[in-house]
Amino acid sequence: MEDLGGLVVKFAVVVNEGPYTHQASDTAYQFTKSALDKGHEIFRVFFYHDGVNNATRLTVPPQDERNVQKNWSELAEKHSLDMVVCIAAAQRRGILDADEAKRHGKGDGSANIAPGFRISGLGQLIEAGIQADRLVVFGD
């Protein structure tokens, strides 16, 4: 970790595209990881639009490719990251936690959200903009 001379910046990161199709999620991951390595703070990572698709636990990428969801989940675990999936965007695209799966009658075991992600409202994005020193958007 670098010596920041006390200059710790509080970042918020927004991810607007899903895994694999666009590089946005990969770049956001590398940025977030680097910021943490440098001793900065990540207030929140917010997943919006197709970005919610990063949160599915059902991906099975080829052995020789990176696992985008796992990258995020492991980073969250290591650094206690707050990773929020927008509920409205998630409903349009089929990302559900256990509560949502039950509420919409999708059947036992249907919840497909991966570890480290939580579903919440768009207010969490605005709050991130208010609380963080810098908000950085990655998308298409």
Partner: protein, 103 residues
């Protein structure tokens, strides 16, 4: 108040680099990432000319890992463009008052 503008699309196919350059103010910086890096290859291209025209007032940076992925050598970029890694991206974001993405 200075801004870091990020651009992630090829300037040969999209208008986002041109639009970012047209709205950057003196003291701002522009960082090319992802597919946008194809625009910094040295040569007589429209993209290279646009970058050269912008540079007196605006610092132009490019993400090195994205350059390498597109087969562009470090010594093959437009004169004056600075190559940074992900840590350098973070430093740029910290050094400016805000970051504006041109998606």
């Amino acid at each position: 108040m200075s801004t870091l503008h990020t651009v992630n699309k090829s300037p040969f196919e999209r208008g986002s680099l041109a639009s970012a350059l047209a709205h950057a103010l003196p003291g701002d910086a522009v960082l090319l990432i992802e597919d946008a890096v194809v625009g910094v290859r040295a040569g007589e291209t429209a993209a290279a000319q646009a970058l050269k025209a912008a540079m007196p007032g605006c610092a132009i940076h490019v993400l090195g890992p994205d350059l390498a992925a597109r087969g562009i050598a470090a010594d093959g970029v437009v004169d004056g463009v600075t190559i940074v890694d992900y840590g350098g991206f973070v430093d740029l974001a910290a050094a400016h008052d805000k970051v504006q993405a041109w998606l």
